[in-house]
Each structure stands twice: as C-alpha cells, then as structure tokens.
Subunit: 83 residues, 2 copies
C-alpha cells in the first residue's frame, strides 16, 4: 500500500517537474543553456516508458507518462525554435 | 521478457539522458535558461523513485536511479553556482 502510494507519488512528481521548465522557456524565449541532446534522449526514453506502461496495462502509468511526454515535446519545440 | 527489456532500456535511457545537459552546463558555465524549480522537483521525485526501488528491492532500479540522482545533484550545484 505504502509502496504503491510512493510509486504513484514518484510518477506524478516526475511528470509535474518539467512544467516550470516549459513555462520558463515559453516566457523567456531563451533556451540556449538547454541541451538538445538531453531533450531528444529523454523523449526517446519516454517512448520506451509509455510502451512499457502499455505492455503492463498500467493505466495511471500510461496517463502520467503521456502528459510528461507532451510537455517534453513542447520543450523540444521551444528549443528548436529559440535555439 | 520483452517487457522487462523495454523496462530496463527505459530506466537506463532516462538515467543517461541528463548526462549531455550536465556536461553542457559544466563547459559553458551558463545555466540561466534552466529552471531551478524543475531541478528541485525532479530531484524530489528521484528520492521517491529510489525509495520505491528500495521498497521493491529492485537492485537494477536502485542503481540506475541513484546514478541519475547524482547527475541531477551535480546539475543543481551548477545551477546554484552559475545562476
């Protein structure tokens, strides 16, 4: 029970974490300090995580990871736009 | 079997992803575009993930997450140092 709560807490917190980065990059229109390679590798890992979630049929995992993936796609878009 | 391989691949790729960001911030000594809040929330989520791994007694999970945590601590240090 406690293990599950910590697991869900970890998943949700990881997904939320990138939100302040996306809003910061959106507002400042400056992303030069952000590594393009990081966003690309991280996004690739997200695709693997979503696939893993689908194979396990873990709906909460699929939902939180999908939200996280969307946020990283937005960040990647901002990085490509602003350099 | 395939599910496990994808799971481990996802975990390792997530841990590796932050490496180019750490090396970029280390070399350029510029971190102003990086959100402090992101690094703090992400690190907090990493502590939850490591706790989750310990509760599940999943050694590969604990090892990869610990490496990832160390890399984020270094990034946080660089962010605090360079602003």
């Amino acid at each position: 029970m406690l293990t599950q709560i910590i697991g869900y807490g970890a998943g949700i917190t990881t997904a939320i974490a990138i939100l302040p980065q996306v809003t910061k990059s959106w507002k400042t229109r400056s992303t030069k300090d952000i590594s393009l390679l990081w966003t690309l590798i991280y996004l690739f890992s997200m695709l693997l995580w979503v696939t893993y979630g689908i194979l396990l049929k873990e709906i909460p995992m699929i939902i939180t990871l999908s939200i996280e993936t969307i946020l990283y796609v937005i960040l990647l878009g901002l990085k490509i736009k602003h350099g």
